[in-house]
C-alpha cells in the first residue's frame, strides 16, 4: 500500500498500537507479518519473490559465516584455507548472480530483448519473441540492493551473521523503507531489530511530525506540480520556450518532493516504532557541484554504489583516467537502476559526465578565477555554483521524465526554439491543469519548503527548536500543517460543481 493512501492511515496506527502492546519477543514477528501484508497489498504473488531473495541472502550469510569461522581456525597458507576462501567468494558470487538475475528478469528482460531485436533488425535477422509478460514488482530494486549489501557486509566481516531467518526477513522487508528506501545497511538496521524499543512519547511525536511534513511535501507540492508537469510533458509538441523550461524545473521540484517525502514518511514511521533510518536527502538543490549533489540526493543509493561498486572497481586509488572511468560506470549503472530505458542511461551518463568534466576543468577554472581576481569564497560565487549545479541537474531531469529519447530531444528543441517571457504575465500557467488558486498554493508551498531548506542548510535543527516553543504555537503550526494537507492536498475523487446540476430529476 502507498503511504499516501487511506489504507495506510488505518494500517499504521493499528500496527503501532499492537507493536507496543505485545511482548518484546513477539514484536519482530508482528512487524514481519505487517510488512508482508503491506507489500502484498500491491500484488500478493510478488511477496514470494521477496521471500526468495531473502532466503538466498540469508543462506549466503550462513555459508559465508561458516567459511569465515573455518578460516580463522586454520593456517592461512594451507590448501584448506584457500578452498575456504574460494568457497566464501563463491557464495558471494552466487548470491549476487541469483539476486541480480531475478532483478534482471523482472526489470530488464523486456528492455534487453528490445535492444537485441533492434540489433537483429539492423542485421536483417529474425527477431526474438519470448513471452515473459510481467509487471515490475514494486520496490524490487530497493530490497534487492538492501539484501545484497548484507551478503557483502558479511563477506567483509562488517556485520554478524543473522541466524534467525525471521529477524533477517524483517531487515529486508521492514515496511517503512521497503518499497522506496532508504536502502538501509545491515550495520544500521539489522542491529536495531534486536533492540528493545519502548514507547517514548517525545520520539513518537517527533516521528509523527516528520511524517506530517512528508505528507505535506507529497500531497500539497509534489502531486500538485505534477499536474503541470504531466500536462506539458505529455503534450510537449504544443509547448515552447519558457513553458517547457518552467515545467522542467517543476519536475525537479516534483521528483524531489515526491522522493524526499517518501523518505521522510519512512523515517517518521520507523521512528514512531523506535527505528532510526538514515537521512536520504540533505537539501540537494543547494549543492555547488554535481559531485556534491550526489552526496545530498538519494544518499542511501549513492553510498551503496560507492561501497559496493565504485570502491571495488578501484575508486580513486588507481590512475586519474581509471577514476573517471569508474565514475562513468557507476553513473551508467545508476541510470539503469532507475529504470529500464535508454533515457535513464543517458540521464546517468549526463551526471557522470558533468562530474568528470568538472574535475578535468577544475585547474582551468582555478586559473581563470585567479586571473580575474575572483574570490571563490564569496557568497555570490557560491550562489553562482549552486545555480549552475541546479540548472545542470534539472537539464538532466528532462531525460528522466521524458517518455522516450525522441520526446526528450523534442522537448529540448522546443525549449530553446523561442524566447517567450510573456508567458509569465499572460496567464499561460493557469491553463496547464491547475486553477489560479491551486497554482498559487503550489508556489507558496514551494517557498515554504525553500525557507525550511535554507534553515536546515544553515544547520538549524527545526524540530528541536519547534519542540521548545509554547503549546499554543506548536498546536497552531501542527494543526495548520494538518489542515493545509487536508484542504490543499491533491487526493480524493475531486469536486466538480457540474456533476450536481440536475434538470430532469
Amino acid at each position: 500500500m502507498l503511504f499516501n493512501s487511506f489504507s495506510y492511515l488505518i494500517f499504521f496506527p493499528i500496527v503501532v498500537l499492537m507493536y507496543f502492546a505485545i511482548p518484546y519477543k513477539a514484536r519482530y514477528l508482528w512487524l514481519l507479518a505487517a510488512s508482508y501484508y503491506f507489500y502484498m497489498a500491491w500484488n500478493p504473488k510478488y511477496a514470494l519473490l521477496m521471500a526468495l531473495s531473502t532466503v538466498i541472502t540469508y543462506m549466503s550469510g550462513l555459508l559465508i559465516g561458516r567459511e569465515t569461522r573455518l578460516t580463522s581456525t586454520i593456517e592461512a597458507d594451507s590448501r584448506t584455507y584457500r578452498y575456504a576462501v574460494f568457497r566464501k567468494k563463491l557464495w558471494v558470487f552466487l548470491s549476487m548472480v541469483s539476486n541480480l538475475s531475478i532483478l534482471f528478469l523482472f526489470k530488464y528482460f523486456d528492455f534487453f530483448i528490445d535492444n537485441v531485436n533492434r540489433v537483429l533488425g539492423h542485421l536483417g535477422m529474425e527477431l526474438l519473441n519470448p513471452t515473459f509478460d510481467v509487471i515490475l514488482p514494486v520496490g524490487i530494486s530497493f530490497y534487492t540492493f538492501q539484501a545484497l549489501s548484507y551478503t557483502m557486509d558479511v563477506y567483509r566481516g562488517e556485520i554478524y551473521v543473522e541466524k534467525n531467518l525471521f529477524k533477517y526477513a524483517l531487515f529486508v522487508s521492514l515496511f517503512p523503507q521497503l518499497v522506496a528506501g532508504p536502502i538501509e545497511r545491515s550495520k544500521n538496521l539489522l542491529v536495531q531489530i534486536n533492540r528493545r524499543h519502548t514507547f517514548d512519547y517525545e520520539r513518537v511525536k517527533n516521528g509523527l511530525l516528520l511524517m506530517l511534513w512528508g505528507f505535506f511535501l507529497k500531497l500539497v507540492i509534489a502531486d500538485r506540480v505534477a499536474v503541470i508537469v504531466n500536462t506539458v510533458y505529455n503534450g510537449y509538441t504544443n509547448y515552447h520556450g519558457l513553458i517547457l523550461a518552467v515545467a522542467t524545473l517543476f519536475f525537479g521540484i516534483q521528483i524531489y518532493c515526491d522522493f524526499y517525502a517518501y523518505s521522510l514518511i519512512a523515517k517518521g514511521s520507523a521512528q514512531v516504532m523506535g527505528f532510526r533510518l538514515m537521512d536520504n536527502f540533505k537539501q540537494p538543490y543547494f549543492s555547488r557541484s554535481i559531485g556534491e549533489f550526489w552526496h545530498r540526493w538519494h544518499i542511501s543509493l549513492s553510498t551503496w554504489f560507492r561501497d559496493y561498486l565504485y570502491i571495488p572497481l578501484g575508486g580513486n586509488r588507481k590512475s586519474t583516467l581509471r577514476k573517471y572511468i569508474n565514475v562513468m560506470i557507476v553513473f551508467l549503472v545508476s541510470g539503469l537502476w532507475h529504470g529500464a530505458n535508454w533515457t535513464f542511461i543517458i540521464w546517468g551518463f549526463l551526471h557522470g559526465s558533468f562530474q568528470v568534466i568538472g574535475q578535468i576543468t577544475r585547474p582551468l577554472k582555478v586559473r581563470i578565477t585567479d586571473l580575474l581576481g575572483i574570490d571563490r569564497e564569496k557568497t555570490s560565487y557560491k550562489l553562482g555554483q549552486m545555480l549552475i549545479t541546479y540548472l545542470l541537474a534539472n537539464f538532466a531531469w528532462i531525460f528522466f521524465r521524458a517518455p522516450g529519447f525522441t520526446a526528450a530531444k523534442g522537448i529540448i528543441k522546443n525549449m530553446f526554439s523561442v524566447w517567450n517571457p510573456w508567458v509569465f504575465t499572460d496567464g499561460s500557467f493557469y491553463n496547464l491543469g491547475l486553477s489560479v488558486g491551486s497554482f498559487w498554493v503550489g508556489i507558496i508551498s514551494i517557498l515554504i519548503l525553500m525557507g525550511v531548506s535554507v534553515a536546515q542548510y544553515r544547520g538549524i535543527r527545526i524540530r528541536e527548536r519547534f519542540a521548545k516553543q509554547g503549546l499554543i504555537f506548536r498546536w497552531t503550526v501542527t494543526l495548520g500543517l494538518i489542515f493545509s494537507i487536508i484542504l490543499f492536498g491533491i487526493y480524493g475523487p475531486g469536486y466538480n460543481a457540474n456533476e450536481f446540476i440536475y434538470f430532469q430529476f
Binding site: 487511506f6 512519547y201 486553477s435 488558486g437 491551486s438 503549546l471 498546536w475 501542527t478 494543526l479 494538518i482 489542515f483 487536508i486 484542504l487 490543499f488 492536498g489 487526493y491 480524493g492 475523487p493 475531486g494 469536486y495 460543481a497 456533476e499 450536481f500 440536475y502 430532469q504 430529476f505
Partner: protein, 312 residues
C-alpha cells in the same frame, strides 16, 4: 503526573482537530440551497421541525417530491406532512431515510413512492449519493446508508466528505459561511414546485399491461425492508406510483412492486392507468413539467385524488 498531562494533551489536541475538521467539512460541503432543487435545505430543514409534528411522511425520489405539496395535502385532509425525498433516490436510501425520519417523528402513515424500483444498477452515481447522504447527520443509520449505497473503496468519501469537497475552498461563497439553512425549516416541507409546462409529453396507455418484471434483488430486498420497518413500527404503509406517463417497461416494474405489495399485504396504487388519469382529469398538455414529473397544476389535481386513497 507527566503521563496524565500527556494523555490529556493528546485528547485535547484530537478534540480540537475534530472540531475544526467538522467545521471545515460543513463549510466545504457542496450545498444545494438555492432555487427549486435546494435539497440540502429541504433535508436539513427536516431536522429543524418540531419533533412528533407530522401525521404523514412521504418518501421517495423526484417523482415523490414534485407530486405532493404538504400545504395542499393539509387543505384536503387537515393532516400535517413532510416530503423527505431527494433526486433519484434509490429504495435503499429511502429505507434509511425512513429510519432517520422515525427518530424524531411518529406519523400515522408512511407513504413511499416506488418509481426507483425500475433502477437496474446496484449503485447510483456520486451526485445522487452525495445529495442524499451529505445532509444527514452522522449516526449508525447514516453509516448503514453509506454502506448500502456506495461501493467499497469509495465509502470514505461519504463518511468524511471533506475528502470529496476539500478542493472547493476556491469556490466558497458567503452562503457557505453563513449556512442559514442549518437553523431554518423548509417552507415547502420538502415539496419541489415545478411550474413550467412541457409540450412534448408522450402518453401511452399501459393500463392493460399485466406482465410484471421483478426488480433487482437489491430493490426487492429493500422493498421488503421498508415493509418490515413499517410493520415493526406498527405504522400503516402505503406504496404508490405517481402519475409519470409510464412506458410499458416501467409499468412492468411497477407491476413487480405490486406483486410484492400483494404478497406482503401492503396497499399499493399505480396511478399510471387511463382510469386514474381520467378520474383526476390529468391533461398531458398542461399538467407535466417534463415527460416524467408533474408540474404544480398536475400536483393540484393529483393530491386531492390521492388524499382520498390515503384517508379512506
Amino acid at each position: 503526573m507527566q503521563t496524565i498531562k500527556r494523555i490529556a494533551g493528546t485528547i485535547g489536541f484530537v478534540l480540537i482537530f475534530l472540531l475544526i475538521l467538522s467545521g471545515a467539512s460543513d463549510l466545504l460541503m457542496h450545498k444545494q440551497i438555492e432555487g427549486r432543487w435546494n435539497m440540502t435545505a429541504k433535508v436539513v430543514g427536516f431536522y429543524n421541525e418540531e419533533p412528533d409534528s407530522f401525521d404523514v411522511m412521504f418518501f421517495g425520489s423526484s417523482h415523490m417530491y414534485c407530486s405532493v405539496d404538504p400545504a395542499v395535502f393539509y387543505e384536503e385532509t387537515g393532516l400535517k406532512s413532510y416530503v423527505f425525498a431527494t433526486q433519484q433516490q434509490p429504495l435503499w436510501i429511502t429505507y434509511h431515510y425512513m429510519i432517520e425520519a422515525l427518530k424524531t417523528q411518529r406519523p400515522e402513515l408512511l407513504v413511499v413512492e416506488t418509481h426507483m424500483a425500475v433502477q437496474e444498477e446496484d449503485y447510483m452515481d456520486e451526485a445522487t449519493n452525495h445529495t442524499a447522504i451529505d445532509p444527514i447527520p452522522m449516526s449508525k443509520n447514516k453509516l448503514d446508508m453509506i454502506f448500502a449505497s456506495v461501493p467499497k473503496g469509495e465509502r470514505r468519501f461519504y463518511i468524511f466528505n471533506i475528502m470529496k469537497y476539500h478542493d472547493r475552498w476556491e469556490y466558497l461563497e458567503k452562503e457557505d459561511f453563513v449556512r442559514a439553512y442549518e437553523k431554518t425549516t423548509d417552507p415547502d416541507k420538502g415539496y419541489v414546485r415545478l411550474s413550467e409546462v412541457s409540450d412534448d409529453v408522450v402518453w401511452e396507455d399501459v393500463s392493460s399491461v399485466t406482465e410484471s418484471r421483478v426488480g433487482t434483488p437489491k430493490n426487492i430486498e429493500y422493498l421488503h425492508k421498508i415493509i418490515d420497518l413499517a410493520e415493526k413500527e406498527n405504522i400503516r404503509l402505503v406504496m404508490f406510483k405517481s402519475p409519470s406517463n409510464a412506458t410499458v417497461e416501467e409499468k412492468m416494474f411497477y407491476n413487480g412492486v405490486a406483486e410484492v405489495a400483494v404478497q406482503r399485504g401492503v396497499e399499493f396504487i399505480d396511478f399510471n392507468t387511463r382510469e386514474h388519469y381520467e378520474a383526476m382529469g390529468l391533461d398531458i398538455k398542461e399538467d407535466f413539467y417534463d415527460q416524467r414529473h408533474l408540474n404544480d397544476t398536475g400536483m393540484k389535481k393529483f393530491v386531492p385524488y390521492f388524499s382520498k386513497f390515503l384517508v379512506e
